[in-house]
Amino acid sequence: MGDRPQALVLRTAGTNCDAELCAAFELAGADVKMVHVDRLAEDPTPIERAAIIGLPGGFSHGDDIAAGRVFAVKLREHLGNALRAAAERGALMIGPCNGFQVMVQAGLLPSVGGEQELALAENAGGRFIDRWSRVEADADSVCLWTKPFVEGEYSQEALVLPVAHGEGRVVPRNGQVIERLASNGQIAFRYAEEVNGSVDHIAGICDPTGRIFGLMPHPE
């Protein structure tokens, strides 16, 4: 306790990578609290206290309608202001897999409060896939989460991560979106091989500040 940053992990029905995300935050030196999103809707105080917010992987609400949709609608409808405030005061956010799908639809990525500019569509192969993939961090990205893989301690190491999803193909609203993301340094991770048909092999993106990061692979 004391100096350790507070990490908050949000869960809902069907969340299932929560234990891994909590363990990863703990390993990295945070104190972790996990809260059901419906409790936060009643009382968002834990969001105000969190230095790091994690949206875990899983099949939130069965991924019915579309992957992450119902969880995203809950965040948008009940916690939009609280999450925007957290972003404004510089909280870090990460969402692997289902968390990424949620962030994109809840208006957290590619920029907080912006319109939905991209989506995670059904894999090009038309089915769920579980495999490991080599992933490369973009050297020009502003992403804080991937910095260690660009410069410093881990920059020489190959990054091979598990991917496990049915809907992970990045589709932008139009061609300009990807250009803009690239010039803003918002493309953080790319697959080094063909995985799901994602445009430009994009595996993960961040917001313009580099603090909010969503990705399909599972670094946790």
Binding site: F59, A124, G125, V171
Partner: protein, 968 residues
């Protein structure tokens, strides 16, 4: 919460959501591909749309919000209210009324939350629309009925479907129906059994008649149903627990010495009497091992799964079940509810275990079939849909599916086998639970509907070509998210305080509440108020509520004092909760009794001793005769062809070929503890022998999971002795576990027998021999059975167009599943060849009596792996040692093998291991294995492929053969 606007009337609206041009339509593309590959139908193009029918009082503004804010993705999709015009041909697939539609439940709750209204005022159903261009009407119908839908659970529409209202079942008559047995003769008893779908035999019907005669009253419908469920083969295993009279044809050297098995009496005429087959064989092996000092089993044969010690704080448990009948009729729902039910068995073990891994094994007919018997689904469709089912349920539950197998044999054509397994973890001290007098009977989870009525009795009979019509109500669709919520709530209730908030827990499986409450209350009785059960819809009679097998329900025994704490947890997790009654009730003689009431009136009263011990156990006849000339003679395919051709043919055989397309659809990483994965090697494409998981992050100890599947070459083939088959199954399971690093002295195993009808004396004798094989095998390997299950009557009867009756029996099939402790996960082993120049391939094969050589070799191999830097280990099974060596190369990368042995390349022997070892370890290894190891080859780096003095095969050819067959 508000209700919907009262000035708006209830109205049916249809919403349609279509992928935009930008998004593409991978599902449609897959349908086009599958129509061609599975049905030979060419389609020019296809498009899909997700459809929703919403029946509610919504204003137009609210309806627009539902569409735009909930149902449509603004980047990927275009949504409309109503239905777009058909381009050319339209097919829509919708669930039949009453069939579980998980997406509809999610949509309904989400609409309610979005609009801030009560979900009760909204009805939803979800469907999928396909638009095709360039397909004939006939082809359209076959695609719709054979690829896109199943009439057992779905209806197909050939135009845009907008009902005027959704079906609302009418209330039903709840008056009590009684059966007066007085004077009923045998014929009428059997007619009653058949008409009521009771699946009870004459002895059992007589016992029921006599019981009620003694009571001097008629039986009620619900009493008969309860007895039929409790006495079903599925629940009571009356064949395996029966007394058996076994005889065999005189033979010079009998394989089995029955005189050595306690509990078997050998008579002077040579016949053998076994008083309880399961108890004297499979279970006896475990109890004898325990008596002999084996001290790490914790709860065996008494609970929903078998529990063993993992370390000082933690226990692990495992269960494997079959879901054959439902999967034959509706493979997707059958497999999904199969794994769902097995997961609930783990949740319902002791005072609740957390599921940490799933397994699955499928047996189907060969995928290339020209014609099919009537009433049978194509094996390719069965396999793809059971995979879909396991994937959708297991992945959604967040449980990694880590191990499995597929076996193809045409004798499974009408009766495929679907085995689903689950492994759980629980704290030591929570491995047992008993309901206490006065505890409340609490049902948690899904609501009760008409689905799955008569599942237990249906699964106990044989399949026929008309079963799909008669038993469609026994088929169900699962709702994994419901079960995930239940799991989250139960683990919270378990860990909330010092002790769990409940004193016992079990799942509602076959037989529904009747089995769950009946079993929990066996010793202390129970009284139940059936109207308290939350229902999916009106229209269920009280007896249907009692026996329905609706999924995702658990029953808990909860002390009064803990009720509100449990209620709070359930409310927070959105898990429905109902108090059905109380445990503890006895008749005037002190015998525990089951009382059933509906709205205050008694509708049933049964004595627990009669219910649980009253089933007559007649003696079963078992005759092991002279083997017939084999119908399924072993085909030594391509004896005359070259080694290369034979090797490639073996690798391309569906039974050996890569199952990558299946494995990659399962999440095997979730929970972050999968150490050795089902696909191995740097490119994750080699076949693994088993999986290793790390159940507890705090411990370096691992748990290995593997299986050994054996089946008879022909049920009356001369070389196909189920006794030996069982021992070889144990051997294979042990080898697979040892090859991934398990300690062979810490392996627990499970049996799953799938057999044809045991009314046939030869089949019964085969079962006896397999059970004795299990007994001798488990004792020899010191691998206790901790749980098991049998599925009998696996045979398919049909009448062909000429009016001739046919019967297809499945081969005798025994699945041995095992879990073993891996002392250190860093020593977990995989089968892929590592690129180490000059390293050696060592073949280790125990010689002599399998019961002696098998365990000894397993221990020698495990010791060697534990103490030396072994590079790879693989067991040789189908296809012999050369095929196994080729598999090691396929998983490897940048490595080749020179084959340097004259060992018979394709012969299949048990007790055979392949090890890759560094060159400098060769002499140590040969000394360690004392004459049972042979140096068989040398690995080279910088090259690929397999070569020998007389043949060579390129890596490309190996891979093409191995991956080409099942690349679906």
């Amino acid at each position: 919460m508000t209700t919907l606007a009262s000035d708006v009337s209830v109205q049916v609206r249809r919403f349609e959501v279509r992928p935009s041009e930008l998004a593409g339509d991978p599902v449609a593309a897959r349908v086009v591909r599958e129509a061609k590959s599975a049905l030979g139908v060419e389609i020019d193009s296809a498009r899909t749309a997700k459809c929703y029918i919403v029946e509610a009082a919504l204003t137009q503004e609210q309806a627009d919000r539902v569409l735009q804010d909930l149902l449509v993705d603004p980047v990927l999709e275009v949504g409309v209210e109503g239905g777009a015009a058909s381009a050319e041909a339209t097919v829509e697939v919708w669930p039949l009324p009453g069939v579980m539609d998980p997406a509809a439940q999610t949509v309904r709750t989400a609409i309610a939350e979005l609009l801030g209204v009560e979900p009760g005022s909204i009805e939803v159903t979800t469907g999928i629309r396909y638009d095709f261009i360039g397909v004939s009407t006939d082809d359209l119908r076959s695609v719709a009925t054979q690829l896109l839908s199943n009439p057992v659970i779905e209806h197909v529409e050939y135009s845009v479907w907008t009902p005027t209202e959704l079906a609302h079942p009418a209330p039903v008559d709840q008056s009590v129906r009684t059966v007066d047995f007085a004077g009923m003769n045998d014929e009428r008893l059997m007619q009653l059994s058949k008409d009521g779908h009771l699946f009870l035999n004459l002895e059992e019907m007589r016992a029921i008649r006599d019981h009620f005669a003694k009571l001097g009253r008629a039986a009620t419908d619900i009493e008969l149903e309860t007895i039929a469920q409790t006495w079903s083969e599925h629940c009571v295993h009356k064949t395996l627990k029966a007394q058996v009279r076994y005889t065999e044809a005189k033979s010079a050297t009998p394989v089995i010495d029955f005189a050595k098995i306690p509990g078997c009496t050998v008579h002077s005429d040579g016949s053998v009497r076994i008083d309880n087959l399961l108890k004297r064989t499979v279970a006896a092996a475990t109890f004898e091992l325990i008596e002999d000092g084996l001290d790490w089993t914790l709860s065996i044969f008494v609970d929903n799964s078998g529990v063993i010690r993992f370390d000082d704080e933690t226990a692990v448990c495992m269960k494997v079940e079959t879901h054959n009948r439902p999967s034959a009729i509706e493979p997707y729902g059958g497999a999904a509810t199969g794994i769902g039910g097995c997961i609930r068995d783990i949740i319902g073990t002791g005072l609740a275990a957390k599921p940490i891994a799933n397994t699955d094994v499928f047996c189907v007919a060969n995928p290339e079939q020209e014609s099919l018997p009537p009433g049978v689904l194509h094996p390719r469709r069965i396999l793809t849909r059971v995979v879909d089912g396991v994937r959708d349920y297991g992945n959604r539950m967040g449980i990694p599916t880590v191990n499995g197998a597929v076996h193809f044999d045409d004798r499974y054509i009408g009766n495929p086998l679907v085995f689903a397994g689950c492994i759980g973890i629980l704290p030591i001290g929570l491995e047992k639970g008993d309901p206490q007098l006065g505890d409340l009977i609490v049902a948690l989870g899904g609501r009760t509907g008409k689905d799955g009525i008569h599942g237990a009795t249906f699964s106990s009979g044989e399949l026929t070509d008309t079963h799909a019509d008669e038993f469609s109500h026994a088929v169900q669709i699962g709702n994994a998210i419901e079960e995930k919520r239940v799991l989250d709530a139960i683990l919270r209730a378990r860990d909330a305080e010092e002790r769990p908030l409940y004193s016992a827990i079990t799942d509602c499986g076959a037989g529904g509440f009747s089995s769950a409450v009946g079993e929990m209350g066996e010793k202390i009785g129970a009284s139940v108020d059936l109207e308290q059960a939350p229902l999916k819809y009106t229209g269920l009679r009280y007896d249907e509520v009692w026996i329905s097998e609706s999924q995702e329900r658990m029953v808990l025994a909860v002390p009064q004092a803990n009720l509100s704490a449990l209620q709070t947890i359930c409310d927070e997790e959105h898990v429905e909760f109902a108090v059905l009654g109380t445990f503890g009730h006895a008749d005037t003689d002190g015998n525990p009794e089951l009382i059933l009431r509906w709205e205050g009136s008694e509708v049933g009263r049964l004595s627990m001793p009669f219910l649980h011990d009253g089933v007559p156990m007649p003696t079963r006849e078992a005759v092991w005769g002279e083997p017939q000339s084999s119908k399924a003679a072993e085909q030594q395919s391509g004896q005359s062809s070259s080694v290369e051709e034979r090797l490639l043919a073996r690798l391309a055989d569906p039974n050996t070929a890569s199952k990558r397309w299946i494995v990659q659809q399962y999440d095997h990483e979730v929970q972050g503890g999968t150490v050795a994965k089902p696909l191995v090697g740097i490119h994750a494409d080699g076949p693994g022998d088993g999986a290793v998981i790390q159940p507890a992050r705090s411990s370096r100890q691992g748990l290995a999971i593997a299986n050994g599947l054996s089946l008879s070459a022909g049920n009356d083939a001369p070389d196909s002795d189920p006794y030996r088959m069982a021992i070889e199954g144990i051997d294979e399971c042990v080898r697979n576990l040892v090859c991934v690093g398990a300690d062979p002295s810490r392996i627990a195993i499970l049996d799953n027998f799938c057999w044809p009808s045991c009314d046939d004396a030869r089949n019964m004798a085969a079962l006896v021999r397999a059970c004795v094989g299990c007994y001798n095998g488990a004792k020899a390997y010191r691998t206790p059975f901790v749980s098991g299950k049998d599925s009998l009557n696996n045979q398919f009867r049909y009448t062909d167009q000429q009016g001739n009756e046919h019967l297809i029996e499945i081969p005798y099939t025994l699945l041995i599943s095992g879990m073993g402790i891996v002392p250190d996960i860093a020593k977990a082993m995989t089968s892929d060849a590592k690129p180490v120049a000059g390293s050696k391939l060592l073949i280790v094969r125990g010689e002599g009596d399998l019961l002696e050589a098998g365990p000894r070799t397993a221990h020698l191999v495990a010791e060697f792996i534990a103490n030396h830097p072994v590079l790879a280990a693989h067991d040789a099974s189908e296809g012999g040692v050369l095929t196994a060596a080729a598999e090691m190369l396929i998983g490897g990368h940048d490595v080749a093998l020179t084959w340097e042995t004259h060992l018979e390349a394709f012969a299949e022997h048990p007790t055979t291991y392949l090890l890759q070892i560094p060159a400098d370890l060769e002499s140590v290894a040969l000394a360690h294995f004392k004459g049972i190891a042979h140096s068989a080859g040398t690995f080279k780096v910088g090259e690929t492929g397999l070569d020998a003095e007389r043949f060579s095969v390129s890596d490309d050819d190996l891979r093409r053969a191995f991956f080409g067959t099942l690349d679906w």
